[in-house]
């Protein structure tokens, strides 16, 4: 008996019950009686939660507390009388923001179309729109609003610089980013004796500005340290290997909160006596090293997953060890663990709110503190009445974290062109 059948010459459509909405519902939600029951129960719960959630959000919620806190959420007590006596210092973080939009504009100019352009335009637009918000912070004049609006021309200036001058390369954007970050720190900290730049103690730095400063510094510095630690841990030199293992295991084995407590004592030990090391710097160092330890393990995982033939092929071509690592192993290892690396960046950003441990007012602690103050001073009857501010905080954190995820997804897809 032959098993060869007549060839089917025309393609038949799939059975009706398998396609379309009905087919999907049947396959996924109502395939068996218990699946159907589960679908009904979960559906009902979801509808109930949605009904109450949305009703609260659109009818009962009162977000005036967010606008009351306004600028405080963004820069903390930076522009208060204790911090910046007899002056309006709000222009300084704003100038730093102008640098950010300038660099975003340059990135847009270098990258051309696509995601970079979208991010640049969205950020500049949202920042500029803040100029029209009803702030309740004192000393908010037209100058502040004009500086916010200036972010749009700043973006366009950056774009033009990248397009029409020799600065239009990623190398220049990177160099200028580092310069801008350092300039931001000088701007915020101030210079003694320079008019208009009177020093502001870092203890008054706060709000979202503090979270972002810590996160940016942490991400940028912990990444190379993490790479170095990962390579060190795989080194054949026993001393280097031991040092890296000890470092990684110590920083991974102790909770960040504990490390931040200890930073008051531990970090100064690593520096000469009387070294001007403020609380913020100590926290930044601890957060960075903590993140670097995790980063090292992520990258080591990526290196471990590489086929040994990759390094062999490079060595067989006569590439020396360091070039093999730099050109062959690391690019592939990092690409393979981008999700883990970005996860670490996101964790670091969220962890920045732990600096409340050393008495700094980041956006979360600031909200909590002011919300309870309102209640204690009988300005509001219950803490319940300020819960909107925490919803707002969640939204802020979510936007930043989701943004990072989204960008990493784009990068992954971009780099996946030659995926094995």
């Amino acid at each position: 008996m032959s098993t060869v059948t007549e060839p089917v010459t025309t393609q038949l459509p799939p059975p009706r019950s398998e396609i379309g909405l009905v087919g999907w519902l049947r396959a996924n939600l109502f395939s068996t009686w218990y699946n159907s029951a589960l679908t009904v129960v979960v559906g009902a719960l979801a509808a109930w939660a949605l009904w109450y959630g949305l009703r609260w959000l659109f009818i009962d919620a009162d977000f005036t507390v967010v606008s009351t806190l306004g600028g405080l959420l963004i820069i903390g007590q930076y522009n208060t009388d204790q911090a910046c006596a007899g002056q309006n210092c709000f222009w300084r973080p704003q100038a730093a923001l102008l640098l950010v939009t300038l660099l975003l504009g340059m990135s847009w100019g270098v990258a051309g179309e696509g995601l970079t352009r979208r991010i640049a335009i969205i950020v500049a637009t949202v920042v500029a729109l803040f100029a029209f918000l009803p702030y309740s912070l004192e000393r908010m004049g037209w100058d502040v609003r004009l500086l916010l609006l200036a972010n749009v021309p700043s973006l366009l200036l950056g774009w033009a610089l990248a397009r029409y001058t020799r600065l239009g390369t990623w190398r220049w954007v990177a160099i200028l980013s580092v310069a801008a970050f350092l300039l931001t720190l000088v701007l915020l900290r101030g210079l003694p004796g320079v008019p208009g730049l009177q020093p502001v103690s870092v203890l008054y730095w706060g709000g979202l500005m503090l979270n972002l400063l810590l996160a940016v510094a942490g991400i940028v510095v912990s990444f190379p340290i993490g790479i170095a630690l990962a390579l060190g841990r795989r080194s054949r030199l026993p001393v280097v290997k031991l040092l890296c293992v000890v470092f990684i295991e110590v920083f991974r084995g102790v909770p960040l909160i504990t490390l931040l407590f200890m930073s008051q004592v531990l970090v100064p030990l690593a520096f000469p006596e009387n070294f001007p090391l403020n609380a913020l710097l100590r926290a930044a160092i601890i957060i960075t090293l903590f993140s670097a330890a995790y980063m090292a393990e992520n990258i080591r995982g990526g290196l471990q997953a590489l086929h040994p033939g990759q390094a062999e092929a490079a060595r067989a071509l006569g590439l020396p060890g360091w070039q093999t690592t730099l050109l062959i192993s690391l690019p592939q290892a990092i690409r393979n663990v981008i999700p883990a690396i970005v996860g670490q960046f996101i964790a670091l950003f969220k962890d920045t709110s732990l600096v409340y441990i050393i008495g700094m007012l980041d956006i979360v602690e600031l909200s909590r503190k002011f919300a309870t103050t309102y209640v204690e001073n009988n300005m509001l009857p219950y803490l319940d009445d300020v819960q909107e501010v925490f919803i707002f905080l969640a939204l802020v954190f979510w936007i930043f974290c989701f943004g990072m995820s989204h960008i990493s997804g784009r990068i992954e897809r971009h780099l996946g062109v030659g995926e094995r």
């Binding site: 067989a316 071509l317 006569g318 030659g418 094995r420």
Partner: protein, 252 residues
């Protein structure tokens, strides 16, 4: 270097004397001695685990031998890193699993070593790479990534990549074993052309047809030793060793 009777650095391009290699307690190479002359094509066969891959990997120091001497192109293989790098620049290697760099384009795979190791200007290296891609028959694939190529094409790129360093010796470690049957031919074709161009070739391969046609000598390994070393005609028709007959009867 002067000629000392046994080693002529011009003619004997590879000299191995009593080479031993252990993996832990396992004695993988047990006193291998052989000489390869410039322009010779040597095909190495043998059962799996016989040490044939280990042997050719010692020649560019991907494996370190623990006893005996290996002299390649007049340079003795020692722990001196400069010697090793000098030899690796002179010895091209092609692997069973291709080992192309997946994050680089085909062209960049080929130009990487010439630009980084030989400091060749990149436009010049690209010129050389395109010539080599012509030679292996796939110039149109230059801007693709390795994953977008078939196995046979990838292996031909790997050959071009090794040739870009202008080596005097080419090592092939089972170059066709990971390929589908219809792709083996295109790789062997490139190797045959290479053999005809007077390249010194050491190839571990089970392609006996190729060996019979192209090889000057066929060397058979068994249990870490060379058990036979004969020109193809004699090897197939008149092997001296029982083990060779047995092996041939199993794979023919």
């Amino acid at each position: 270097m002067t000629t000392n009777g046994t080693t002529d650095p011009v003619e004997d391009i590879i000299v191995c004397r009593d080479v031993h290699k252990w993996y832990g307690n396992f004695h993988a190479l047990r006193g291998v001695s052989t000489t390869v002359q410039k322009g010779e094509v040597v095909v190495i066969i043998g059962p799996s685990g016989s040490g044939k891959s280990t042997f050719i990997r010692t020649i560019n120091r991907l494996e370190q031998h623990q006893r005996g001497d290996i002299i390649v192109d007049g340079i003795e293989l020692t722990n001196d890193v400069r010697n090793i790098d000098a030899i690796r620049r002179d010895v091209g290697m092609v692997f069973q699993s291709f080992n192309l760099f997946p994050h680089l384009t085909v062209l960049r795979n080929i130009t990487l070593a010439p630009t980084k190791v030989r400091h060749m200007p990149s436009h010049e290296a690209e010129g050389v790479a395109m010539e080599l891609l012509e030679r292996v028959g796939i110039p149109e694939q230059a801007d693709k990534y390795p994953a977008q190529l078939s196995g046979g094409q990838q292996q031909r790129v790997a050959i071009a990549r090794a040739l870009a360093m202008q080596p005097n010796i080419m090592l092939f470690d089972e170059p066709t074993s990971a390929l589908d049957p219809e792709m083996i031919k295109e790789v062997l074709e490139v190797m045959r052309e290479l053999a005809e161009s007077q390249m010194t070739i050491l190839a571990v391969s089970h392609e006996l047809g190729f060996a019979r046609e192209v090889a000057d000598r066929i060397v058979m390994f068994d249990e870490g030793q060379i058990v036979e070393d004969l020109p193809p005609d004699e090897f197939f028709n008149n092997p001296r060793h029982e083990r060779v007959k047995h092996f041939l009867s199993q794979i023919l």
